[in-house]
Symmetry: C2
Subunit: 300 residues, 2 copies
């Protein structure tokens, strides 16, 4: 694939695997799309589906998945721990290769419009695709959840970006957005003192005067007897991995604590790794096309 | 491609582009193979062709290329600066993914046997595929070049591994081998003193008591007014890139010289980059499958 968009829809069914399989099948059957992963959480009663594909493939698969979820999931009967407001709760589009963020926003808008007009589901655009001030943050968009939606739709300030103002009891509402890829990245510390991990996390994260695109918290690793600064790197182009590591190293020094290692959880775009390698090697003029494996799948 | 073998044949024609194109076309037309690069040097009168593919594809393409070169190149009329002994001078096979070195050696032996028996060209196996003591080193195998070959073939110690003992005046002889991928890697120093680069190069390379899989020399970068330690990393699994960088940093210290940066020239396997990144980040339990792009092309 010369063009890669990642799409990670979350649907409000995590207990009935037959329903989840039918929804995932929609992705499996769409051309120009590859299913990478899906996982269900019974407590959350929610499933996260990860796939990648071309613009055309991802546009088709995301709408078809939303249509299938609208058919099979009844929000009037849904309960679960995770905040949610619809059968297909969120659909983020993530530019990976050969597509800009602006193009991902356009893609999100087309899918949002189609869900609104054809499935009669209220749609809110969020993150980089937000069209209304205050809708960038998903938590704010989803405030009041499904249960508060009928009332909220009557408020002109909460008019959906697409679809009907009328409450759709069966499907709720869907948030459609575009955002950079997220990297789950942890730095382990040679101490069992959780207060130190928490103090460092506060200083490293954006909210505490730290790095712009970092969310962080302290975590105890009971089995290893050490603590960790657990991070979401929400935009590795703005704030690369190495910058978080080196800042944590500097902050840890005041406690006489050294770094025990780092972990990347789940998937990571190659660009996030190359950017950080370039820093440590002082690499000059390196191009991703120099990676042998990147040359194997071109159109030619 | 789940299986990737790289193959970099060198043919003794670098001036007549029509001939080169016809030879390269053989690779283009072979299934399960992708042409990555080819370049000709008129002074050397030699072309280097780089392609990758499955075992089956690479086996077929390398033989067909050798056959075409035997047809189109007449060694009795060849001159050029680069040492050579045949129309297809060398064929190295390089394991990249989903294949072991031992399997690459087996592949090289099959191709060598076929070139010998079907094309009646004497074949010498070299590097990891060497079958006779003293044939590991290509320079030794090629000693005396094409011009010395007729006489050399009469020496029982130089009996080819495959093919006739009779001199093939049109095609000469071909060296077929298997070796690890090679990374051309340079470390730039903040000094214009070439003696320092040469002294560091001597200490870092294997021959000088340095790192096992490193060849190194000092080079002046005239336009930048600095010097560089220019290296061939001949086995990045044995000697990773970071180890050369950190050793050069340590050696440079005695001269009060710091590192200006590094360069990777040409193609590099992803594994060479990930191995070095793991060192600098202290990355724990990282798997190549976590790289998003690596998940896009599997068979599923």
């Amino acid at each position: 694939m010369e063009q890669i968009i990642q799409c990670v829809p979350n649907v409000s069914e995590g207990r009935d695997s037959k329903v989840v399989e039918k929804i995932v099948d929609v992705v499996r059957q769409t051309p120009e799309v590859k299913l990478l992963d899906y996982s269900s959480d019974a407590d959350h009663n929610r499933s996260v589906i990860t796939f990648v594909g071309t613009e055309k493939g991802v546009e088709q698969a995301s709408f078809a998945l939303c249509q299938k979820a609208a058919e099979l999931i009844d929000m009037t009967k849904h309960s679960g721990e995770h905040p949610r407001m619809g059968a297909t709760d969120v659909i983020p589009f993530i530019p990976i290769k050969g597509i800009t963020m602006d193009e991902c926003v356009e893609l999100a808008l087309r899918v949002g419009e189609k869900i609104g007009s054809e499935l009669k589901i209220p749609v809110y655009m969020y993150e980089n695709a937000a069209q209304v001030t205050g809708r960038k943050n998903l938590a704010r968009v989803r405030r009041g959840q499904y249960e508060g939606l009928e009332k909220r739709l009557q408020d002109p300030a909460h008019k959906p970006d697409f679809g009907p103002v009328e409450f759709n009891a069966q499907s709720g509402a869907t948030a459609v957005g575009a955002r950079p890829p997220l990297v789950a990245f942890n730095v382990n510390l040679n101490t069992d003192n959780l207060d130190i991990a928490n103090a460092i996390a506060r200083n490293v994260r954006h909210a505490g005067g730290g790095l712009k695109a970092v969310k962080a918290m302290g975590v105890m690793l009971e089995d290893r007897g050490i603590v960790q600064v657990s991070m979401n790197m929400v935009n590795f182009e703005e704030t690369p991995l190495y910058r978080a590591v080196e800042l944590i190293r500097a902050e840890a020094k005041r406690y006489g604590v050294s770094l025990a290692g780092t972990e990347i959880i789940g998937l990571v775009p190659q660009a996030a790794l190359l950017g950080t390698l370039e820093y440590y090697l002082g690499l000059e003029d390196f191009k991703p096309e120099q990676v042998l494996e990147n040359r194997l799948h071109g159109d030619e």
